[in-house]
Symmetry: C2
Subunit: 120 residues, 2 copies
């Protein structure tokens, strides 16, 4: 039986990571019209989040850097799988809010969410 | 209401990408005991997969590079979200099998799967 939203199946093995965060660390040249997440500070925010998640001992969570997630204009951006929830994180305070409200609290950091549904 | 496996919720916005592939492109120094996915050719395989997925016009799919996914010994490795299915891809033929059997066929490329459940 297949989950209609995720495509995961009952017979699939258990997840390797329960929470898998990807933060865009793509850097475009200065002056590129789309800008880039790294140019807006995503690398430092990723390092900060990785350290904070480790300190908070959130079980079986991983904070990865990723290449361009194609939401440059909305960045610095991140996506949390398998839930598939996207956030814009502009500061350490935003990272803290995602950790506390989403990863620890099990809710959503609503003021930081990016919309779903890719434009056609 | 929350999906017990993924943590996604009925009120969450629709997914930005229906299929989001992350291929580890981490490179460790030569001789590192864990090896690394890039040292085993993952960067070229990622570029190949990105091009093939585009050619195949698989709707709303994205093939990203990622930092270390912490499965170095099992690499070159990839994970497909939101399903959370992991594969070891050693060649272009392996990439083709994942595209045909998983992304297009909607099944699993069973001979290439990595186990789930992270060792404690």
């Amino acid at each position: 039986m297949e989950d209609a939203t995720t495509g995961s199946r009952a017979e699939d093995p258990p997840p390797f990571f329960d929470v898998h965060v990807f933060i865009c660390c793509n850097r475009r040249p200065d002056g590129h019209p789309r800008g880039s997440c790294a140019a807006r500070g995503s690398e430092g925010l990723r390092n900060y989040m990785k350290a904070r998640v480790k300190e908070a001992k959130i079980p079986n969570a991983r904070v990865n850097m990723a290449g361009c997630l194609d939401r440059c204009e909305e960045g610095p951006c991140m996506v949390i799988y398998p839930a598939g929830v996207w956030y814009r994180i502009e500061s350490r305070e935003d990272v803290d809010a995602v950790i506390e409200q989403h990863l620890i609290g099990g809710g959503r950091a609503d003021g930081l969410r990016l919309p779903g549904g890719r434009p056609a």
